[in-house]
Structure formats: structure tokens, C-alpha cells
Amino acid sequence: MTEIIAEITPDIVAEHGLSAEEYQKVLEIMGRVPNLVELGIFSVMWSEHCSYKSSKRWLKTLPTDGAQVIQGPGENAGVVDLGEGLAAIFKIESHNHPSFIEPYQGAATGVGGILRDVFTMGARPVMNLNALRFGAPDHPKTRHLLAGVVAGIGGYGNCVGVPTVAGEVNFHPAYNGNILVNAMTVGLAPTDRIFYAKAVGAGNPVVYVGSKTGRDGIHGATMASAEFGADSEEKRPTVQVGDPFTEKLLIEACLELMATDAIVGIQDMGAAGLTSSSFEMASKGGMGVELELDRVPLREVGMTPYEIMLSESQERMLMVLKPGREAEARAIFEKWDLDFAVIGSLTETGRMVLRWHGGVVADLPIDPLAEAAPEYDRPWEPVEPPAALDEANFPEEGDPLDSLERLLATPDLASRRWIWEQYDHLVMGDTVERPGGDAGVIRIGDGPKGLAATTDCTPRYCLADPKTGGAQAVAEAWRNLNAVGALPLAVTNNLNFGNPEKPQIMGQIVGCVEGMAEACRALGTPVVSGNVSLYNETDGQAILPTPVIGGVGLLPDVALVPGIGFRGEGEEILVIGW
């Protein structure tokens, strides 16, 4: 074994975010002291971000089945049947911490990441959405963060050519030091050409495509799970720069290859890059994997195996091909001017073996590591219901028109035109309902069917009563889809909360998930994918509990979308379901 570092000290273990007990488990699994590369791999695989160690117990309680569900949580994105051989593939994902540190690039790479999750499964992305939370409008950082995030979302999505059709934005001082940037992508794929991350077939080539690997975001995955402190701005170099142009090429090249039958399994390199992608693919297929790190396309000289495995460079994918199909695949990626390298193969050993400069630099068992990933049943406290408000404490309202004007001028209700005009919401030529309505709607193919999508959550409800708030978010998404004439099919969700090690925060999580599960069951819209972002705190101050729901629904005929505007004078105004 090539020597990587002399000694693993408790400090190094702590820097990798592993607790003493977790490190003990590492020693048991390895049967020896790990080297630095191996420790790095444990660290990212067991981070909150990759392992969902605090939330898994509760996520299991969400309803995930239904006749329409082709693939629930556990893959890169959820898949729902639309009938007539078509499926919708979608997911939402957070990029909160990176966006606070560098709003443009953080938001842009968030969009890039969620797009990859969706086209990895064989779908052409057709809609982007987002859910944003900023601090108080008059907080000194808010303007800069808002402008940067919106420009970043647009900068990436517009260039890639996927319309951004809906979203939501709220302001509250609880987000002053910890904004939320959740991005959602919806794609369309033929039901018989859906691709999964499962790697099978000993000897099959493992192929790297996309951009080269640089020293981007090393430790990004652990950063995304660590609570912010005053020194967080020092962690800056972990921010990555997105390259939407390369992403666009990657979409086209992947879809072109997916039209053949050369691919066995495919997975994007997201958080924890090569480590988590190769690990997860092998683990899902019950295989081992051997990688030759010398073959990984590198952007910088002198990169170490540790850096290669932990880099979070964007716009990269890992695939397992059928044997003998390499040349065909290479021709497609080279046509699109993308890197293509066979970097290893699958084995039957059940181990991940990394070679570099002729030696072995890591050798660890896949299943035991995956199975032993920590899972915590963290203590939680139910949230005390707030005292009822006494109507007598509120002043008599004056002129209703006055009140209306004041309401419309509040930051949470004001028009979002300034935002969505910066997003190309028309590209692809299928947008039926633009931003500004209840849900975005696109036409599917040549119609008449359409697909609707929305993102929703009202954090103050979740704060007051997590269970009702969680249920309300689902109900609101449902209503928004319904209002454009769609039948809601399923949802994805992004659980944004504070530090789960605090029982009060854990209580919010438990309550919101319970409410969400109940509403999803009642409304027949299972949860097919999602993302969890915890430790959203600054100096001990948690954000409002923000379980964002992304809903997707099907319209029988886009010509029937009612639209949000009043159409003409003299028409009757009805209120339904009061």
C-alpha cells in the first residue's frame, strides 16, 4: 500500500467531522487504521449530507408508493408515470451554504446539480423551479444575496436552455445569516428508457465523462452539513464555479448515448464527487469497483488521490457501460468536446480499490461501510403550540383598499416580476403558464397534455405548529396545481432545518414530516424524491423550519388552463372551499 500520510491523529479525525464513536466503527470495519484517503471516503459517505443520519428514521415514515410511482426515493430523482409511455422525473435540492458564501456561483451550481440528478436518469429537463428564503429586506446583506442568487439561477438555467417557470421567495430575519436556495428540476423520459445508478456486471468498464477534475470544493460535502460560525467566510475556497455551457453539452451527449443501449448504470458526481458516485453505484449493484486514479482527467498538476476522490468539480458523470461499447460512447462525447476516460472496472470483491502510480492507495469494503453508516434516533421535543392570539389586541382595520395596498407592498406579497424576468421562462417553446400564476405549466411534446409544477411552504406556520405547517405545504402545492387545471401526481420535498442535535429542532423535523406524510396520504400524492439540509444555523440561531414541497401534476389539455387573470368586466367572482 502506498503510504499517504504517516498518522491519523484525533485532530485529523475531528477535522473530517467524524465523532469518536464513528471513528471506532471505522476501525472495526477496516480492521486497521485507515489512511487519509480512506478516512476522507468514510467522512464524506457518513456526512449528514450523504447519509441522512439524523433524518433517515423519519423519512422512512413518508408515503412513497402509488400506482403512478415508477421510482420513489433512493435514486437520483423520483419517477412518475404520465401514461402513453412517458414519465416525469423530478427532484428538489438545496444549495444553501454555498449560496450564502458566494451567491452567484452557489445558486448556479445548485441548478447544475439538480439538472444532473434528473438527466442522469434519462430525462430531458423541461422545467426548473426554485424556492428561496432571504433575511430581512433591510438587512445589509439581503440585496447582495438576492441579486446574486437570482442572477446565478438565471445565469445557469438560461444558458442550459431549460425554462425556469415557477418558484417562491420569502424574507424573514431568521434567514439573515443562512439563506435558503432550493432548486428543482422536472424532466421527461420515455418509460422504457429510464436509467438507474445501479452498477452490475463484473469486468464492465467504469467511465468518467464531462469536465476535468480540479481542486474544487474539497470537503464541500462536509461543509454543507456543518453549522455556520463566524469564521465561515474563511472556508471560501470550497466554492465551485459552474460551467453551464459544459452542462448543456453533457445533457446532449448523455441523451444521445442513452438512445443506444450501451449504458448499464449512470450517476452524476454531486457532493463528494467520485467517492459517492462510484461507491453508491457499486453498493446498489452489490459489486466491487477498482479505479485507476491516474486515468482521471485532471485540471491541475500535482493532485493527490485524496483530492481526486473528494473533489466536487461540477459537470461530471460516472457511467458503467456494457463491455465493448466504449468506442461508440467515446465518439459521442468527443463530438461534444467533452472528456471521456475509462477509469476502472467492476469487480466481484465487494471492495473499493483505488490505484495510483502503480500502488494501491485505498482498499475498503463497500457494503459494511454503507450498512454501518450511522443512523441516529435523535431526541426530540414536541413543539409547544403557541398561545392563541387575542383579537382584542389588534387594531380595527381601516379602509380595506388601504389595507390591500399595504399588503401588496409587503416584501412577502409584492410582485416577483423583477425576479422571474431574469429567468428565461420561455425557452423550448412549450411554456403555457409563465411565472406569476399559481404553478408553471408546459406542454408535453405536441400536446394536448401538459405538466404543471410548483414549490410551496409557509415557514411561519411550520414554526407555530410543525405538523399543521408540514401538511399545509403539501395542501398548498396541491391547490396551486389544481388551480391551473392539473391533477397532482406526486411531490418532492426539501427539508431545511436547524441543528438536529437540538431536541427542539428535531421536534420541528418530526412534526413537519408527520404533517407532510399525513397530507400526502390523504391527497394521494406520494413523496418520490427529496433532500435534507440540516444545521442551517448561524451562531446558534436556527432558520424557521422550512420543509419545501415541490409538486408535479398532469393536465389533460393545456388549452384549458384557466390562467390567473380576471378576463373581463362583468364576470362573476366565486370563492370556493372557504
Binding site: 442572477a151 438565471g154 445565469g155 438560461n158 444558458c159 442550459v160 436552455g161 460551467d243 453551464p244 455551457f245 459544459t246 448543456k248 453539452l249 461534444w336 468536446d337 416580476r417 422571474w420 424576468e421 431574469q422 429567468y423 428565461d424 421562462h425 420561455l426 425557452v427 423550448m428 417553446g429 412549450d430 411554456t431 403555457v432 409563465r434 406542454r443 400536446g447 393545456v558 388549452a559
Partner: protein, 227 residues
Amino acid sequence: MKSAVVVFPGTNRDKDMVRALEGASGQSPALVWHKHSEIPKVDLIVLPGGFAHGDYLRAGAMAARSPVMREVVARAESGVPVLGVCNGFQALTEAGLLPGALLRNADLRFVCRTVTLRVENTQTLFTGRFAAGETFDTPVAHMDGNYFIDDEGHRRIAGNDQIAFRYADGAAAGPANPNGALDDIAGVFNETKTVLGLMPHPEDATDPLHGGTDGRKLFDGIVEALS
């Protein structure tokens, strides 16, 4: 009418354009990849919108220098009509087929919304279906649509009726001119009026689902002129 649509890496409104051309002409355009140096014999060459080569360096700069553009320039010089929309317009100015340049939007923000255009010259193969001074609504979606030309050039194109469209008051909720373009210029012709470039996307205003079909007049007019 036979047409060809040039596709660069990063082009993203090719499908929209293909549909609009199919709708107007009843024929599917040929798609030509940027690395190819040959274009089939067609009546119209179209450069659609998008972010060719990411719009890195300058919008349209790298597209203008790709192999296929040598052929586009040659055809244009031999009189074959060429239409460039948005990124295609930027590439045509970069390639020297159209006068002026497109700078970053004055407010430095991407803008996607509906604008109103006034047709300034109806005596061309592109604009024959419009009445003099007619206005129509069509979306824009761009980051670099701020048309610029120096004073002398401005006088020249104005004098030679090369200004095709101007932003006008109408549909927009904001200012009529969405990007700060000089003299509200939204589109220009070459000297012989056989090459047209414009920032707005008439191809995204050809289906009732787009919220309007004003863009059809442009495509129908072209088909009529070239069939």
C-alpha cells in the same frame, strides 16, 4: 421554402425555430452542425437563439468563427437570405454580416418578457406581410441585446432603411426598450436587406399557447417571399 438551421454547441432555441419554420413552410428545415463546412442548397439559412459556446468571451464571438460560418458568409454574399435571432443576431454582427454590435443589457440583467416591435421597413423579403409602421408583440430573452453602432454607422443604416424593428410602446409592463439599445433598435438588415438579425424571438410567438401568434407574420412573409 427550404431552410437550414445552424446548430452550435450551446444553441438552445433550435427546436422552437424548427417548429416555427415547419408551421409556416410545411417543410422541416435541415439541421447543420457547427463543425460542418457544408450547408445543403436552401432558400433560407437561420441562426437560432441560445448561448453558443456559452457566450464566453463575447456573445456570438466563437460561433461567428466556427467552420460553418465561412459557408454562411459565402452564401450570404451570394445573396442567400440569412435570418439571425438573438444569439444568431449576435453571431451575424460578430461575423461582419450585419453592422453594429450587441453589448450587455444596460441594467446588466438578463431580461425575459414580451415587448412590442414596430416594423420600420416593410419593403423586404422578411417583412412583406407587415403594414408600414405596424406594431406586434413578441418575447425577448437575452443578456446582451443592447444594440450599439457608432454615429456614422447609425446615420448610414438609418439612411439606407436598414433598421428593421424598433422597440415601441405596447405590451411591456416596464420600459418599451428592454436593454438600452441605441435608438430603440431591435433588429437590422444588411445593405441589401437579404440578411436580418433581431434580438426578440418571433418563433416563440407562433402558437396560441405562447400567449400570442404575432410572430407568424414574419415567418409567413418569408415563406411567401421565398417560395
